[in-house]
Subunit: 220 residues, 2 copies
DNA sequence: TCCGCTATTTTGATTAGTCAAAATAAATGT
DNA sequence: ACATTTATTTTGACTAATCAAAATAGCGGA
């Protein structure tokens, strides 16, 4: 019964706390939800009363078990919807994120499960982001990135974590889709530049920050 | 940019004004939206300021052209979603109405058009309700019903206008789906009863009111 | 330790949507 | 034509979500 506003707060808290074990700050949450910090404080206090988050005043927030379960549900809906839009409706992977943003709040468990079955119960969405199970299990592995992997050796792209349409279009244009095999041919930390060799289409160069958004695994 | 609340008001006004040429009363709208009449008056006044409806105080309301276009868009989304849920996800036609009620407010034009193409640009939804075109054209014909058609002669079911899950389940159980061929074998206006012969499964009896919900066309 | 910067919280106000209950207008019947 | 019933509108109040701006707390540096 959580409103879509509440669902969004929970989702963003979970996504921001991914990786790090620290609390999520009000400021970070405000930026990512595009509201002012005061609004976040007010809302978080009420989520704490609902038992969805644990609020440590002046320090940050973290999800309770209930809050985490709810957040994983939203993320599951989001990622399955994205997968549907790309696999069935043949939409561009760069645009499905914002579409899914709306649909994730409107889809029932029944519809979701049928969608999941139709798609063959996929483990990841088109960007390589893992899809939480219906039971709320999420196996997110820690991967190397194009900013950290060994030079010259071929690696496989497994996930692109930047969701912005511009970045995804750029990545797609250079064949940097999950599953693609690529090699980092040069990396200059001083200049902050990474040059990659992809199948065909030239040798795109990235900033180190951008390269860090492309997760890879060594080729067997 | 209309909120889902506004979309619902417009949709209900259009559905209530279907057939009749009179204004839609505040009371009827309040009942069908499940809010109190005072709320409807307040809301209608603000929709009138927005130019979506024409409010005749103390008499009723009707859609402006803009309001009608918006309402048809909502109905198009609703009916295409229902069709998708039944045709692709194999959901029960009795349950899709309430699912579509949520999704109709969350689906973009792009997604909708792809869904429409996937379904082969259907003219009606699973209940036989006509789907407005993307340009806002709706060809709703006037049909006879099981309460008014000739006795004994075979007729084809084209549309079931009652959306309640209970009624739809009953209709389905007796094979009264759009496309089915049936005959009215007895109609007693005094008792208010209609008895129908369907393919196979017995001879269900309806109230005249219920029979009026099943639209038919004579068999060529 | 104290000063100042920065993040957070508070306060007061606003908008959308709703209800309960009182006031008012229209329609109906005799 | 007038009183009564019924529908509509108004009024006042409430909740969820937000913002702007003021108040406050925590932290790092001298």
């Amino acid at each position: 019964m959580a409103s879509s506003t509440v669902e969004n707060y929970l989702k963003h808290i979970l996504l921001l706390s991914e990786g790090t074990s620290d609390l999520v700050s009000m400021g970070a949450l405000a930026t990512s939800l595009k509201v002012v910090p005061g609004t976040v404080t007010t809302m978080i206090k009420s989520l704490a009363v609902e038992g969805l988050v644990d609020h440590r005043p002046r320090h940050g927030v973290l999800l309770t078990d209930r809050g985490r379960r709810a957040a994983l549900g939203v993320i599951r809906r989001h990622r399955l919807v994205e997968t549907f839009l790309v696999s069935v409706l043949k939409m561009d992977w760069a645009t499905v994120h914002s579409e899914a943003e709306q649909l994730e709040h409107a889809i029932s468990d029944d519809v979701l499960d049928r969608l999941d079955a139709l798609l063959g119960r996929p483990a990841t969405d088109p960007h390589g982001d893992p899809i939480p199970s219906a039971q709320g299990k999420l196996h997110s592995q820690v991967y190397a990135t194009l900013a950290t992997c060994v030079l010259k050796k071929p690696v496989r792209v497994v996930r692109v974590t930047d969701q912005s349409a511009a970045f995804l279009q750029f990545a797609e244009h250079h064949g940097l889709l999950p599953g693609a095999t690529v090699r980092v041919i040069d990396r200059n930390l001083t200049a902050g530049l990474v040059v990659v060799k992809t199948a065909g289409r030239g040798s795109p160069a990235f900033s180190v920050a951008a390269a860090g958004q492309i997760l890879i695994e060594p080729l067997r």
